[in-house]
């Protein structure tokens, strides 16, 4: 089953639904489809299947309005019989009837206002333009409802009175006024024209309004409360009921105050040509012109319905009006009564704007011409060829396009003499003038005023827009929505780059920047360049290393394994530093221990044990107690290994142990030695009393400080000397920086490896040296041994090996230097030769 999309909320609805199930918006057009319609009606005519539903819907709301107004249906039927629904607009039909009536009544009632007469003769009241039930526009229904609430309901059904169209207009009783904007303007103009209208105009208005047909009762639409412009209005009267004055004359008194001079002048206007004019542009004044003086006969054209739909029309063909209002805001709180159906091609009902006060409405109702004066504006809003975009009225009525064929009916009202103010409001040229009846073919679907359109939901247009099928929709090819259908194309708008609209400033690049840019580009190119897989590194024999190793090993090993004294000649001249060192050692007291720090790794034991051995032996021989200390964990073991050859533990020497913490520990030891190394290292299990400090004999010895050697040492200055045996300049620098300030002038001497001597010598080479003595290297060791022993021992064993090793290294450096020099000269010669050849 096909679905209809609600123009308001875009919700799908059954095909035969007249109102939306969700928002209760009208789904069917307001144009009543009562038969062959005129050209104008065709534009407003809904398509065949829709027309039926629209007609049914239109009839529903209009009928509801009628039932509320309690108008006799017979009057509607009578109205519908008089005028072919599809041929002429309602208002024109009513106008015709009014003319006929006026002609009849004029003779009878000359003094009585037409509208009063019409009120008194309800049987003469013209049927509502919407002869079919349920086709009264919402706005009209609301107006009527409001009237019914304000005015005591008439005992009888209100006669078709042309003046009533104003009340009907105010109550929301739709009688063919399609443009809400026009109604708003009408309201305002009505007030202006009140003073201008005369009794005769009132009479004409009354007659005209009578001809408009028996408007049904209020459709029951209480839009007054819903419509924003009607928010301040009092509650609408009972649905479908006109709020007619109690006495027919009561309204006349109000209406009579209004003068409509243009209406009077319009009376003398000739009958407009049936071929001209536009039914939608028929102004009230023009309608009034169709009063008794005007004989307006709508031509009977086959297939065309007479225009109808104007509230002042008498006997107008009832238009099919959807039962439910097309707009959400037109939705009434009360069940709508079927509005009189609208004729096909008739102009859609116009929703009135904010209904004025009762008094104003009453005055307005008497100003027939004021309302009619805006009718041309209705034509203005109805384009002659309303094909695209579909007009709002067409949407209301359910038509996609307004009917373009008016069936040859001349609806032009140009021959109608309109007042100036009405003429000014006729709109652009080309619009049907006064009295002109726009050809149905040129009729454009009515459009809503801008303020009304602005209030409409955007989705209301969706129902008339042909949605693209899924297959015909373009497929997005770029962006995150790639592959989806029905999305906004990004590329033309977003993805496509567009040149900068602002001209770019010239870029000045210096040579340096250009060079840097080239470098960067080169780097980037290199990054992308594919490099061949790295070839496996060729393994080459370390021949150079092997040769040098063999030379060195042989030079060192052979003197070791083969007893020889090749370098048997020992150095005759001792180094100057040696004398200073010896002098320091010789000056040491024997009642205070000398602190010897073993701060070298075991790897240097081969050299430093050779150099420090004679020194330690010298101390032991002099009887100087030795206290060993080390900032390395293996230092105490090294000290024991060396000193055990020259003395006895706890007799000649004692081990204080390991001092952890680097320079900080040296500071701690310098300030408080006992707390820095509380225990000691390698305490003998058995001790003699002579080895123990006085007063501690017999006690458990678990600390080196209980030894007699250390005596009353409490600070670093209590030691007679500090000797540091080290292989690294860092350790020597640490002791040279941290210790002297705490030694109170006691000597600090160092036994160094040959490699550390250059960086320690500056501490010694000064007038106030921080290091008072330095010995370093194998030659010094040999000389020291010779000094204290008169002969050499360990140094001697290694002297030849040392000599030959040094010789081999010198040879290696010499050969390498000569080779490098020769190669360089050869290359230089080659370069020179090549350069000479090139020249």
């Amino acid at each position: 089953m096909a679905e209809i999309r609600c123009p308001m909320c875009s919700q799908p609805n059954p095909e035969d639904a007249e109102v939306c199930v969700s928002c209760h918006a009208r789904l069917k057009p307001l144009i009543a489809n009562n038969g062959p319609s005129s050209a104008a009606d065709d534009r407003l005519e809904t398509p065949a299947p829709q027309a039926d539903s629209g007609a049914a819907q239109g009839s529903d709301w209009l009928s509801r309005m009628r039932s509320g107004a309690a108008e006799p249906e017979a009057r509607d039927e009578e109205q519908s019989e008089n005028i072919t629904p599809d041929a002429t607009p309602d208002w024109l039909g009513r106008l015709r009837d009014t003319q006929a009536r006026q002609a009849d009544q004029q003779a009878e009632q000359e003094t009585e206002p037409d509208w009063a007469a019409q009120r008194a003769s309800p049987e003469d009241s013209q049927p509502a333009p919407d002869a079919q039930e349920g086709e009264v526009p919402d706005w009209l229904a609301r107006i009527r409802q409001r009237e019914s609430e304000e005015i005591v309901a008439q005992p009888e059904a209100p006669e078709i009175d042309d003046v009533d169209w104003r009340s009907r207009l105010g109550q929301g009783d739709s009688a063919g006024v399609e443009d809400v904007e026009i109604s708003a303007r009408l309201m305002g103009q009505m007030e202006e024209a009140e003073a201008d209208l005369g009794s005769e105009s009132d009479q004409a208005a009354l007659e005209f309004s009578q001809s408009a047909g028996d408007e049904p009762a209020s459709a029951g639409i209480d839009d007054r409360q819903e419509l924003p412009f009607m928010a301040e209005e009092p509650s609408s009267p009972a649905s479908g009921e006109y709020d007619y004055p109690e006495e027919p004359g009561a309204l006349d008194a109000d209406v009579s105050e209004v003068e409509l001079p243009w209406l009077a002048s319009a009376e003398s206007q000739p009958e407009p040509s049936p071929d001209e004019g536009d039914s939608s542009g028929l102004a009230a004044g023009e309608a009034a012109a169709f009063s008794e003086d005007l004989e307006f006969e709508w031509p009977e054209v086959e297939g065309l319905d007479k225009p109808s739909g104007m509230p002042w029309e008498g006997g107008a063909v009832a238009h099919e009006v959807p039962e439910e209002p097309a707009f959400d805001w037109l939705e009434s709180s009360e069940p709508q009564q079927s509005a009189p159906p609208m004729d096909e091609g008739a102009l859609p009902r116009e929703e009135p704007e904010v209904a004025p006060a009762k008094s104003a409405e009453e005055r307005i109702f008497g100003v027939e011409l004021g309302l009619d004066a805006d009718v041309p504006e209705v034509a203005e809003h109805v384009p002659p060829e309303a094909v695209e975009p579909p007009s709002t009225s067409a949407l209301i009525l359910g038509e996609e396009q307004p009917p373009t064929d008016t069936g040859g009916v001349d609806l032009s009202l140009d021959d109608i003499d309109l007042p100036d103010w009405l003429a000014d409001m006729q709109g652009p040229a080309g619009a049907p003038g006064r009295g002109e009846i726009v050809d149905d073919a040129a009729l454009a679907p009515a459009t809503l005023p801008s303020w009304l359109e602005a209030m409409r939901p955007v989705d209301s247009f969706r129902s008339v827009m042909d949605g693209e099928s899924a297959d015909s929709q373009a497929v997005e090819s770029a962006g995150p929505l790639a592959g989806l259908r029905g999305v906004l194309m990004a590329e033309p708008v977003v993805a496509m780059p567009h040149p900068a609209t602002i001209g770019s400033a010239g870029l000045e690049v210096t040579e340096r920047q250009f060079a840097q840019a080239e470098i960067l580009q080169h780097i980037l190119v290199e990054e992308e360049r594919e490099f061949p897989p790295a070839q496996p590194a060729r393994t080459s024999l370390p021949l150079l290393r092997w040769i040098i190793s063999i030379v060195l090993v042989l030079s060192v090993a052979m003197p070791t394994f083969l007893p020889s004294i090749f370098f048997g000649v020992f150095p005759k001249k001792l180094f100057p530093d040696f004398s200073k060192f010896i002098a320091v050692v010789e000056s040491l007291p024997t009642d205070a221990p000398a602190l010897v720090v073993f701060d070298y790794p075991p790897g240097y034991n081969g050299e430093l044990s050779t150099i420090a051995g004679p020194f330690l032996e010298h101390l032991v021989r002099r009887g100087v107690p030795i206290a060993t200390l080390s900032t390395t964990p293996t230092g105490p073991l090294l000290a024991e290994a060396i000193l055990s050859k020259y003395g006895e533990n706890w007799t000649n020497y004692i081990h204080l142990g390991y001092l952890s913490g680097g320079p900080t520990a040296v500071q701690v030891f310098a300030a408080a030695p006992r707390s820095a190394v509380p225990r000691g290292f390698k305490i003998p299990t058995t001790l003699q009393d002579a080895q123990i400090k006085d007063g501690l004999q017999g006690e458990r010895i678990n600390s080196a400080w209980q030894s007699k050697l250390l005596g009353d040492v409490e600070r670093l200055s209590d030691f007679s000397m500090v000797a540091v045996i080290t292989a690294g300049p860092e350790s020597a620098r640490t002791w040279a920086e941290q210790a002297p300030n705490w030694m109170d002038g006691k000597p600090l001497i160092m036994v160094l490896s040959a490699g550390a001597e250059p960086l320690v010598r500056p501490y010694h080479e000064s007038t106030n040296p921080q290091v008072q003595g330095i010995i370093a290297g194998m030659p010094t060791a040999v000389g020291y041994e010779l000094y204290i022993n008169g002969q050499t021992h360990a140094a001697e064993n290694r002297w030849d090996a040392f000599g030959f090793g040094m010789f081999s290294v010198l040879l290696i450096l010499l050969v390498g230097g000569l080779y490098g020099l020769g190669r360089g000269l050869w290359r230089l010669g080659m370069r020179t030769t090549r350069g000479g050849v090139d020249d």
């Binding site: 092997w546 394994f561 050299e607 320079p663 941290q738 490699g755 080479e765 007038t767 106030n768």
Partner: protein, 242 residues
Amino acid sequence: MTELSGLDLVGTLIAALLTVMVLTYIIGDNFLFRLATYIFIGVAAGYAGSVAAHSVLGPGLFSPLLDSSLQEIFESTNIINLLIPCLMILLLTLKIFPGGARYGGLPMAILVGVGAAVVVGGGITGTLIPQSLSATETVDSLLQSSNAEEPIFERLIYAVVMPLGTISTLIYFRFSAKRELSGEARRPFITSVLAAVGKFFIAATFGVMYAGALASSIVILAERFKFLKDVLTMLADKLVGG
């Protein structure tokens, strides 16, 4: 080599074997050399830890804590000397755990702060001031030489070379330069000249240090061969002597 006991003999043989394993590196990197080095690292690390625990932590922290009663522990002196260091050690231990690493910041802050202060104080009082004074005193030595036997020429050279070497070496490590218009950074001419002289002094100093290191290492190599010779001799004596 003196007579060795059985255990010492075994140990000596092990030492000789390890020595040979290491000396095989002369040929190239091999399995024996790596095995010997990994053994060395394990033994060295284990011994350092045992010495630190026995010589520092034991007598300085754990033994006093264990020997003191609960009441004595909370005395002000012991709080400062024992409890707070225990707390610091505990916090430092948390540093090896990812969740508690942040708590080890306090003991590390104390350690680093104290160490930095010691370095700064020692550098100022032990090197910066004395060595600066010594550098200026070399000029006085030209006039007042402690060694009167030195000829004047030598003293002159000494008085010129020593401060020149000191100043030029310091200037060599000054890399502040002015950027030229061409974008190249250049030092002033005087600075460049002195820096070049300083570079010469530095090279000479390193050459002397290189010679000393070479001499030391040759002695060590000789000592190793001496050891091997002794071991071989001992073995030969054992084998021959029965």
